[in-house]
Chain length 207, copies 2
């Protein structure tokens, strides 16, 4: 059983490893990889031991091998079809973000209830009304639903996604969603990052 805190760090390790691989770096020490992500090297070794990944004393980890082991543990070697509901400003930014495609997340459907948006093509996919979710899911099954609607629409949209059989949801709307057991919801709040910056800025000012 891999602890949640470890799972949350794996994408960070992978991002650093991908950069090293792009730069042609063959191996990396646990100290170096830990420093790049901002954890202690003992924590990194403990995290990676959950995957059965061990470095070689004095040499460290092989970059390509470790990146593949983490990708496999995260399920990134598979195909993850994603649907975005709510194609306003945020939906448009998410649909065209290159960072999704490079990790195996394939945008397959875009939904919005605004008739003025229906039919518009973004990343070569036509925006459809949410009423067409079941038809689309039947043809090209959706693994992950992303909610980028206003808060008051979020629960109803979530119910539609869960009703269609989608059990992984990424929610951007500032609303707490209630879901049945077996459905995973992750909530993104970009103000969290600003709060961490504020913490460090305040400490700098006080120092």
């Amino acid at each position: 059983e891999i602890p949640d805190a470890t799972v949350a760090r794996l994408p960070e390790y992978l991002r650093t490893l991908s950069r090293l691989a792009e730069d042609g770096v063959p191996s990396v020490s646990s100290e170096e990889l830990a420093a790049a992500v901002g954890v202690r090297s003992a924590q990194l070794r403990k995290d990676l031991s959950h995957l059965g990944s061990y470095g070689v004393r004095g040499v460290g980890y092989d970059v390509e091998t470790l990146a593949l082991e983490i990708s496999r543990a995260l399920g990134l070697t598979e195909d993850w079809p994603v649907a975005i509901v709510g194609m306003g400003n945020l939906g448009h930014a998410l649909a065209s973000y290159s960072g999704f495609v490079t990790k195996g997340f394939r945008i397959v459907a875009l939904f919005d209830d605004d008739p003025a948006l229906v039919g518009e093509r973004v990343v070569d996919i036509a925006i459809r009304p949410l009423a067409e979710l079941d038809d689309k899911h039947a043809v090209d099954p959706i693994s992950i639903g992303v909610i980028a609607t206003p808060a008051q629409a979020a629960q109803a949209v979530c119910d539609r996604l869960v009703g269609a059989g989608i059990s992984s949801i990424l929610n951007f709307a500032p609303a707490v969603l209630s879901v049945p057991a077996g459905v995973d919801v992750r909530r993104v709040d970009l103000s969290t990052e600003l709060q961490i910056l504020a913490f460090h800025a305040q400490r700098k000012a006080l120092a």
Copy 2:
């Protein structure tokens, strides 16, 4: 010295406490608060002890008091003027996100180099060319810069912000920024959340 991992969890505790306060709940046990955030209660007690916040055995924590202690530790009782550079899809979504204002982050300036966007008003602030950064910062000092430009413009924009004296940067562009010592950069990668969802979805499928 508060560990980074603790700092990263404080906004989560605060979000749950704010919800409890809205619902008029007077106190919360460490088990209950820990479960809402997804950590063990021993970890929560350890995190809060760094702030000098202790619960009362058998009663737990006072919701209002703990929320204020965390807000103060994060510096949220102060005013944090924020500037956004890059007013495309993401910039528009960030500028109008209500989740910033409620935590004390005040959007004071919006910049974009596209002449077609300059002059447009978003949340009643006019988009200005980045060349006007120094004038704006002199009149209404900016604490945090948010970069929502394409990757290839990100380093140059970062240099402009740092050159103006801004030492806290939130970067959305998929580019690694190099900054002088004393400048904090936090990077947001929304694919991280999708990877964590993929991890849990894969385990459900294998179970």
